[in-house]
Amino acid sequence: MSLLEVRGLTVIYPVAVGLSAFFSHRFLVAVDRVSFSLPERGTLALVGESGCGKSSTGLAVLGLLEHVRGEVLFRGKDVLKMKGRELREFRRRAQIVFQDPYESLNPKMKVKAIVEEPLAIHRHRGGPDRVGEALELAGLSPPEYFLEKYPHELSGGERQRVAIAAALILKPELLILDEPVSNLDVSIKAGIMNLFRDLQDELGLSYLFITHDLADAFFLSDEVAVMYLGITVEKGKTEVVLSCPLHPYTEALLSVAPGSGKEKLILAGDVPDPLNPPPGCRFHPRCPRAQTECAAELPPEIEVGPSHWTRCLLLAQGKRHDET
């Protein structure tokens, strides 16, 4: 059984505009019927441009957003329906690491307090030892050197390791990594990426890895889901999806990744306004292969290979001309 099973996850943000909020709301569908599953000790990468809904998916999985529909099954139990003790236990078992280590640590708390706080919330004992242990796991040693420091006294990489230590201290099973290395220098980034790999081997963690960087996804993940404007356009094993992409959007993303060696497919225009998503296939206004039928309805997810899914009408109709 998979650790996390997400079915038809939909996230809506009511958009209030000034005083009109008294009377009506407009709705922004940030995540639209997204499904995926994350096996135990596995890593699933959610890939896409900013604003595609990948971070909202991460927060929704943790049950931190309102206006969420669908199911988020953690070990078979729906997170969105959890309450009280059950929810608290889930909060212990699932943790999150954010992108910006300058924003994710409370500036008024010392490292010790930051890392220790989850223990107090969940009434675990053995404070100082556990804190030191977590800091060392996150690669901060000697831990005593860091305990009494404020976040602003640390470097970006060290801050991110503090955030990781705070996430690890409760011995979680699932970590949501929301662009955890995007704000770091390349040299530090490599260290943190390796740390994630080692931690997975040592502690048996599962990662939901949110990133816009295909190289990072390739390095860390077993499976990948590519998102565009709130929907998943392609899902499958990382090696398969990233070596022979089938959706035109994935293809375009891959072609512009540095060192891909492919001819760059530069997409026309910008990502459409998510408040007014285009009808039919979300990608058709920018798709180099779009046909008139593409504007009619959202293509279903079709299985194009062993556990390889994509949402493209052309594939459904078997019209892919460049298939070999």
Binding site: A21, L62, R88, I96, S104, P107, K108, E117, A163, A166
Partner: protein
């Protein structure tokens, strides 16, 4: 921490040119103001020119402006603010007897402003963009826009005249004017020292209306500030992290968010002190509160130059000191600030 000592010295030195400019501006403005202090003092009509001349000489007003300015400066440097032409007593003594009344009013004004402003600001931020938020924001703008003297009069009319729950004006009831001899002149404190329960109740009843009036005047600004600061903090990742760790929402808001949001709020509170003194002038006038600000208004009426100069300089020094204090406090509550 040698840094902070150096910073304090720098800040204190910086206040010197500030006070210099203040003193000069007050001096020149008074000389430009219509009305002659000697005539105002002597009543204006049927005064012999000889008497006027004599008074002018006594007060040094016959000398050239430059000499007057130098004399004025010299005296103030020695802590001599001159005598009030209206009461005949040294200005500095008048100020010190009135200062506790103003401070007592100001402290409770800030107390009510913080109570109303910070709590409604937090509430508005937590319920951002919903009906509660809009209602609170309208209240904030309203309280910011209402003229203090009008609010004071309305509160007097409702709570003192119509409902007769609270006294209209002054710091204590008439009977105490003869029986009560103040010690610190902070009446609340005096009543506690004297262990006089009836007096304490009387003092509190007198304090409520003026303090609430002054407090409401500051509530809007403080509330909007709190809302903005809270919204900014509530949107940060460490708040989401705190929630994801299973912390109760109340603890997230009050411990993680408010403590960080308080940093800009405290700064603004310090700057608001100047506005508070302005508000105190109006409040003291409406409620016949025997404070420094009321003294200033009466001195202005009487063209009492020494008193006006003295009071403004005094308030200026006071505000400067408060701001200095706030800046130092700032470095204590925000661990990131280093000098």
């Amino acid at each position: 921490m040698g840094g902070i000592g150096k910073y304090i010295v720098q800040r204190v030195l910086l206040t010197i040119p500030m006070l210099f400019i203040l003193l000069t501006a007050v001096f020149l403005m008074l000389r430009l103001m219509p009305g002659d202090p000697v005539l105002a003092m002597l009543g204006g009509r049927n005064v012999s020119p000889e008497l006027i001349e004599q008074r002018r000489k006594e007060w040094g007003l016959d000398k050239p402006l430059g000499t007057q300015y130098a004399n004025y400066f010299w005296r103030i440097l020695h802590g001599d603010f001159g005598r009030s032409s209206r009461t005949g007593k040294p200005v500095i003594k008048e100020l010190f007897t009135r200062l506790p009344a103003t401070l007592e009013l100001a402290i409770w004004g800030i107390f009510f402003a913080s109570l109303f402003g910070i709590s409604t600001g937090i509430w508005a931020a937590v319920r951002a963009d919903r009906a509660t938020d809009h209602a609170i924001r309208i209240f904030h703008i309203g309280s910011f826009a209402i003229p203090i003297f009008w609010l004071g009069l309305i509160l007097q009319m409702i709570f003192a005249v119509q409902l007769d729950w609270l006294p209209v004006a002054k710091r204590v009831s008439g009977i105490y004017a003869y029986t009560f001899s103040p010690i610190t002149r902070f009446y609340l404190l005096d009543a506690i020292i004297l262990r006089d329960g009836k007096l304490l109740l009387d003092v509190i009843r007198h304090l409520i209306l003026p303090a609430v009036t002054l407090g409401i005047a500051l509530t809007g600004f403080l509330g909007r500030m709190t809302r903005a600061a809270m919204l900014e903090v509530l949107d940060t990742d460490y708040i989401t992290t705190a929630r994801s760790k299973g912390l109760k929402e109340r603890v997230v808001v009050l411990k993680h968010a408010l403590r960080n949001a308080l940093i800009p709020i405290v700064t603004v509170l310090g700057l608001q002190f100047a506005i508070l003194m302005g508000g105190a002038v109006l409040t003291e006038t409406v409620f016949s509160w025997p404070g420094v600000a009321g003294f200033l208004v009466r001195s202005l009426d009487a063209r009492d130059w020494n008193a006006i100069q003295g009071t403004i300089v005094f308030i200026g020094i006071f505000i400067t000191t408060v701001n200095l204090f706030v800046d130092i406090l700032y470095s204590i509550i925000d661990p990131r600030v280093r000098y």
